[in-house]
């Protein structure tokens, strides 16, 4: 399938924005400016851009904790960063951190427990279908989480109940320290789809066009109530979280894998095809850097929540009978 120059540049910009955002974020982490953990998705940008650009305006995203490339694009970057930094101007008033969500932007919270997002997303998709609402769900899941019972149960439920959903397994080859070859004896993670009577496909997750094509096809199926499973094979460039020394893998393996950069791959193709040129590249970078710099500036000034903004009864219980908070 061929995509318009506009679409191709959109994918490129999404990937590049994430890369720049993460470079700046990693700088902040190294200076000790980020509370909690930072799970970098550097090198995995094509999986996210391929999925995001395939989604329509009524479609919902269920991210994982390693969500920078999706959410920096799907959400307003400065409010997203505020949430990552635990600031009150974040989408969830600084309470969610990486588990960020936005109802308005159709982003569900990423669970802190691996694999839970799969049955949750299936149920959400079922809810859309039951209410005859437009829209499908794209649920991310890492390779590590596929060993979880919840993933099995969620995939099965989605198939049994014909949920409008695409499960996107972002195989970055590591679940913290556990290599995918130690997670499963399946040759491809998409082979697991067979067990659910579901369509499954594996694509090169460093080739945004390949991801996009697979997602276009899977989303079209989902719109008819047929769920499917797409595995995008990529590589986790950084350690599980920043500061963790990744002693479990050979640095040479990472070095080799990083040669297959998804952004470089698309850039070279676009330069060759004349969609991109040096001048345009510089303009895009300047625009994205300005956006990222501005958002870091904004987030720096945003306050952390006060005690009053933290202990809020109405945010624990939706109806006023939950018992005392203390």
């Amino acid at each position: 399938m061929s995509y318009s120059n506009e679409e191709l540049l959109k994918m490129y910009k999404q990937m590049q924005l994430s890369r720049i955002f993460e470079e700046k974020l990693l700088q902040l982490v190294s200076e000790g400016g980020l509370p909690g953990f930072c799970h970098s998705a550097m090198g995995q940008e094509a999986v996210h851009a391929g999925a995001l650009t395939a989604m329509g305006e009524n479609d919902y995203l269920v991210p994982t904790h390693r969500n920078h490339p999706s959410l920096v694009n799907k959400l307003e970057t400065k409010k997203y960063l505020c949430e990552l930094l635990g600031k009150y101007d974040g989408y969830n008033k600084g309470k969610a951190w990486e588990h960020i969500s936005s109802k308005e932007d159709k982003v569900l919270p990423a669970s802190g427990d691996l694999g839970v997002g799969v049955p949750l997303a299936a149920g959400f998709a079922y809810g859309l279908k039951a209410q005859k609402k437009d829209g499908v769900v794209v649920a991310f899941c890492g390779d590590g989480a596929t060993s979880e019972g919840n993933v099995h149960e969620g995939l099965n439920l989605a198939a049994v109940f014909g949920c409008p959903i695409v499960f996107l397994i972002e195989n970055n080859q590591y679940g913290i320290s556990c290599h995918v070859s130690h997670s499963t004896k399946a040759k491809k993670l998409s082979d697991k789809a067979v067990g659910y009577g579901m369509y499954g496909v594996t694509v090169d997750g460093n080739d945004v066009i390949k991801v996009r094509e697979a997602m276009d096809e899977a989303i079209a199926k989902a719109r008819t109530g047929v769920p499917s499973l797409v595995e995008a094979v990529t590589y986790r460039w950084r350690s599980h979280f920043e500061g963790e020394p990744a002693l479990y893998r050979d640095p040479k393996e990472a070095e080799e894998a990083m040669k297959d950069c998804p952004i470089k791959k698309l850039r070279e193709q676009l330069l060759k095809d004349g969609v991109l040129n040096d001048q345009l590249m510089k303009e895009i970078d300047a625009e994205l850097w300005k956006k990222v710099d501005d958002c870091f500036e904004f987030a720096k000034k945003s306050p952390i929540p006060t005690k009053e903004q933290t202990i809020v009864y109405d945010e624990v219980y939706a109806s006023n009978l939950g018992g005392a908070l203390e």
Binding site: P109, P119, G123, Q131, K133, N150
Partner: protein, 325 residues
């Protein structure tokens, strides 16, 4: 007034709520074609069809998370965990996911989910089909816990749970399903968080619910023959807990027995007793007495089980001790 069973009362609540609100659906293992493990849901599928009454594959964690998702999408799911003992399989989904989403998102999402789970012993079904699960969940903020006893309460509280916008654990008691009681024909709702004074009395307050409440009523008859006047309070919901009604009674009697069927150690009675000690210490004329099952996995069969579960004689003994009799 007409008399119906707890099972019939809950069936009516389900039918009324499913008819009233098209977003309500009921999902669980064997609830449709089979009509529930005890036949207590039989007829719902025939009345409402497979889109509203959904037989789930066997996967407690999966369909509880599924229901969390459906609730976030705007539905009002009611799910059943066939035996409350299996709540362990859904513990993360119900304890660590559903009740956290609202707070974690700064109030953006809510999860209007009701989980029904038949609990309790006195049916001789051994240790993995007989437990009371209420205390397992009391330490988790963001959810509510209902422990209905009578047919009247079963119906009114179930309707309130389904209309509530937060995750609610509704733990009906298996051994009480066929217990009869008065239930009016007209519609009513019992708000969560209101304890009931089941019986008024002057000397000893017995705080109890479900199977032990009936034991307490029997105990009260014998105690009153011996000149001890008993007040019985049914909290009806443990989160929220109606401490006002409890403390008012303690102020009157100054003596407290808390009786539940779950093991005594770490049971709901520990929380209630601690709250009384914290807020009504000066009203107490004697130490608080707690009654619960032994800290032992329940044995199989009615007779061995009876050695481990509490009964009315424990209540009588405790009340007499408090009265120095």
């Amino acid at each position: 007034m007409r008399t119906i069973t707890c099972a019939q009362a809950m069936m009516e609540a389900m039918a009324e709520e499913i008819s009233r609100d098209e977003k309500v659906f009921f999902m669980g293992e064997d609830i449709g074609k089979m009509g529930g493990c005890f036949g207590q849901h039989f007829g719902l599928l025939q009345q409402f069809g497979p889109e509203r009454i959904i037989d789930s594959p066997i996967c407690e964690s999966g369909y509880t998370n599924f229901a969390n998702g459906a609730a976030m999408a705007g539905m009002r799911p009611v799910i059943e965990i066939q035996f409350a003992d299996f709540m362990g399989l859904a513990f993360d989904a119900f304890g660590n996911q559903g009740p956290k989403f609202r707070y974690m998102t700064g109030g953006m999402w809510s999860v209007p989910l009701t989980v029904r789970a038949p609990q309790g012993g006195y049916i001789g079904a051994a240790c993995q089909h007989s437990q009371c699960a209420e205390a397992w969940f009391m330490n988790l903020p963001g959810l509510k816990i209902v422990v209905p006893t009578t047919p009247y309460d079963s119906k009114g509280l179930l309707k309130a749970a389904i209309r509530d916008n937060d995750p609610v654990l509704y733990l009906e008691h298996k051994a009480l399903l066929q217990t009869k009681g008065e239930v009016p024909e007209e519609e009513y709702i019992i708000p969560l968080g209101q304890a009931k004074v089941v019986k008024e009395g002057a000397d000893v307050t017995i705080i109890t619910y479900q199977a032990m409440l009936y034991q307490a009523l029997d105990a009260a008859i014998e105690l009153e023959k011996q000149g001890i006047s008993v007040e019985i309070i049914d909290p009806r919901t443990l989160i929220p807990l109606d401490l006002d009604t409890i403390l008012k009674s303690v102020k009157k009697t100054g003596r407290v027995v808390i009786a539940h069927e779950a093991p005594k150690r770490g049971g709901a009675g520990a929380e209630i007793g601690a709250a009384i000690a914290e807020f009504a210490y000066n009203d107490l004329k004697a130490p608080i007495k707690r009654i619960g099952a032994l800290n032992i996995p329940l044995p199989f069969g009615a007779q061995p089980e009876s050695y481990c579960l509490p009964n009315k004689s424990h209540i009588i003994e405790a009340a007499k001790e408090l009265m120095n009799k």
